[in-house]
């Protein structure tokens, strides 16, 4: 009888495709929007993920997210180093600098100043596309990220020696690295901490973050607690900082609501299209269902048949929708190369979409089932 159910489903090509289209559309819209949303949210944490080496971020106690710059006084570094359980701690500058380009235009830059001696937080060797990290110790030297280069110089091939001007100081690009796409999409410059200070207008305090590492075998969380207790500063593990940054954007910006609305819309529209087509489809076949019922098909069997139909359209629609979203993300990343991608297509998104599609398919079939189950078999004679 399963075979009969499938033939009933695929028999009317137009309706069959209509139902699948509805599910696919919903799955596409939801997964695509969710991916962009997660991508954007994830992009807000790109520097947290880029700056590796330490396992603890220390910052002013009022800092809420990674772009929230509240500099500390330099002596805090020594105090953090003095906390028991801290293996080492180094300074890190992270902020926005205003660069003057050779054509006279100004451009905001994300400036990252690394500890002069250790360069902790520099890009991993496999992410360096041109140049040597050590070159950063040359006067005025900066590394630029791949997107930043393209942003500033278009499709020009990379070359050492291009210059920018920040705070009336010349900056010489000596290397290029790969960075995770950022939320603001500004170019990223890496340099030494002492160099970074010169690229900024005179400020009383410039120490934005301290990168620290706990003793081997110590739990980063307990080291964080100790740092906080002894210095009054906020200390977070990489993971905690990642999530608190995302939480900030979730709570303080309209991004989640707007994407939430689109995702809901996808869900509702998908439910409406798929649900309604499926329902009408069943309704149209009501006499046939009635005949089957009269001929001795039990209600349980009928439910099984309808669920099978829903499962099939759900699976195909889901596959098409998810595939479409993946294709969209893939194409977008390759076609639009000037801006960093904001598309995170994780398993969680596939899971959430699968859940939503299941709900759509179940809702559609439940609606139909009601009609079939409460159909008096006698109706077939009318």
């Amino acid at each position: 009888m399963n075979w009969v159910a499938l033939r009933m489903l695929t028999g009317d090509r137009a309706k069959y495709l209509g139902i699948i289209f509805g599910v696919a559309f919903a799955a596409l819209l939801m997964s695509q929007q969710l991916s962009i949303f997660c991508g954007l949210m994830r992009n807000t944490t790109s520097q947290i993920r880029d700056i590796e080496g330490g396992d603890i971020w220390v910052m002013d106690k009022n800092v809420q997210f990674v772009d929230d710059v509240k500099p500390m006084s330099e002596n805090k570094l020594l105090r953090v180093r003095g906390v028991e359980g801290v293996q080492w701690a180094v300074r890190l500058y992270k902020g926005i600098a205003r660069a003057r380009l050779s054509d006279g235009n100004f451009q905001q830059m994300i400036l990252i100043g690394l500890d002069d001696a250790t360069l902790v937080g520099a890009p991993r060797p496999d992410r360096i596309l041109h140049g040597e990290l050590g070159d950063l110790r040359q006067p005025n030297a900066v590394f630029i990220d791949e997107f930043g280069w393209r942003y500033l110089f278009g499709n020009e091939p990379f070359q050492v020696g291009r210059t920018l001007e920040m705070n009336d100081k010349r900056a010489v690009i000596v290397g290029m690295c790969k960075c995770n796409p950022t939320f603001q999409t500004f170019p990223i410059l890496y340099c030494t901490y002492s160099q970074a200070v010169q690229f900024l207008p005179q400020e009383r305090k410039t120490l934005t973050f301290i990168l620290a590492k706990g003793n081997d075998g110590a739990f980063p969380e307990s080291v964080c607690a100790a740092i906080h207790e002894q210095t009054g500063l906020k200390a977070l593990t990489n993971d905690q900082f990642f999530w608190s940054t995302i939480q900030y954007y979730m709570q303080r910006t309209g991004i989640p609501i707007n994407f939430g609305i689109t995702v809901m819309l996808g869900f509702v529209v998908g439910c409406a299209i798929a649900g309604q087509t499926f329902y009408l489809f069943t309704l149209e076949n009501l006499k046939q269902w009635g005949a089957l019922k009269a001929m001795g098909v039990s209600n349980i069997r009928l439910v099984g048949m309808i669920l099978l139909q829903a499962l099939v359209v759900g699976l195909i629609g889901y596959g098409l929708g998810i595939g479409g979203a993946a294709l969209f993300g893939y194409t977008f990343e390759r076609v639009v190369t000037s801006t960093p991608p904001a598309f995170y297509f994780g398993w969680q998104i596939m899971g959430i979409t699968a859940g939503a599609v299941t709900v759509i398919a179940l809702a559609a079939s439940l609606l139909s089932m009601r009609r079939v189950l409460f159909l008096e078999a006698g109706v077939v004679f009318r």
Binding site: R7, G290, A291, A294, G296, V297, E376, F381
Partner: protein, 245 residues
């Protein structure tokens, strides 16, 4: 006017035995008594026509006989099974195993070919698809549709569709065949073909056949005519007799 079946004793008892059966739809102002204390015995091996004016309760009566509707009162016994006391699930199985249906609107599954449609009752009974198709093919050949096995209902004429429906109704060899106005949607010639077919392939010594009709052109096909009016059986006629119009 009412005659009893005692003139036609059968060794096995009646195929259908109704005792004081009533069916009431709705309550209060909307109450309709569709069947009014009907008692009836119908034998095996005959084609019984159930006739009467529109709304007199014919469809309701055969729905009760076929186990599709529960009677409001009375005892219903079909093929030596007491339907009155049969539970829902058992009734479903009873229908699947023992009753063949032919509907006025054919009710074939449009997505299935003729032979697939005819095989459905066997699939319901749990047969494998190849075996079911094989048996259905034989039966379709015997109703004269051997060359249209792979046609879809939409590619067949009304008469041909009804023949497929007859094959479907008989493929699992049910002991009771119930047909509601099988010729109403057909022209005279197709109607005759269909009735001929029902006579030839359906009427057998151990099978009961009831055909509801208000098509006087097919009266000649009945071995017996049960005439209804206002929910009551008003006449029982033998072969060749015609009900009062």
């Amino acid at each position: 006017m009412t005659t009893t079946m005692q003139q036609h004793p059968t060794t096995r008892g009646a195929a259908i035995q109704l005792r004081g059966v009533s069916k009431v739809f709705g309550t209060g102002d909307t109450k309709v008594t569709a069947i009014d204390t009907v008692s009836l015995d119908l034998p095996y091996g005959e084609l019984v026509l159930l006739v009467g004016p529109s709304g007199c309760g014919k469809t309701t009566l055969i729905s009760i006989v076929a186990g599709l509707l529960d009677a409001s009162a009375g005892e219903v016994s079909v093929l030596e099974h007491n339907l009155t006391r049969m539970g829902g699930n058992r009734k479903v199985r009873f229908r699947g195993a023992n009753i063949g249906f032919v509907f006025q609107q054919y009710n074939l599954l449009p997505a299935l070919t003729a032979v697939e449609n005819a095989s459905v009752p066997l699939l319901i009974a749990g047969w494998s698809r190849p075996k079911a198709i094989e048996k259905a093919s034989d039966l379709l050949a015997s109703v004269g549709l051997g060359s249209r096995l792979k046609s879809y209902p939409s590619q067949l004429s009304g008469g041909q569709q009804q023949r497929v429906a007859i094959a479907r109704a008989l493929v699992h060899e049910p002991r009771l065949l119930v047909c509601d106005e099988p010729t109403a949607a057909l022209d005279a010639a197709s109607g005759r073909t269909v009735m001929d077919l029902i006579r030839q392939v359906a009427v057998q010594p151990d099978r009961a056949v009831i055909v509801v009709t208000h098509d006087s052109r097919v009266y000649d096909f009945g071995d017996r005519i049960v005439s209804m009016a206002d929910g009551k059986v008003v006449e029982l006629l033998g072969k060749g007799q015609r009900p009062h119009e």
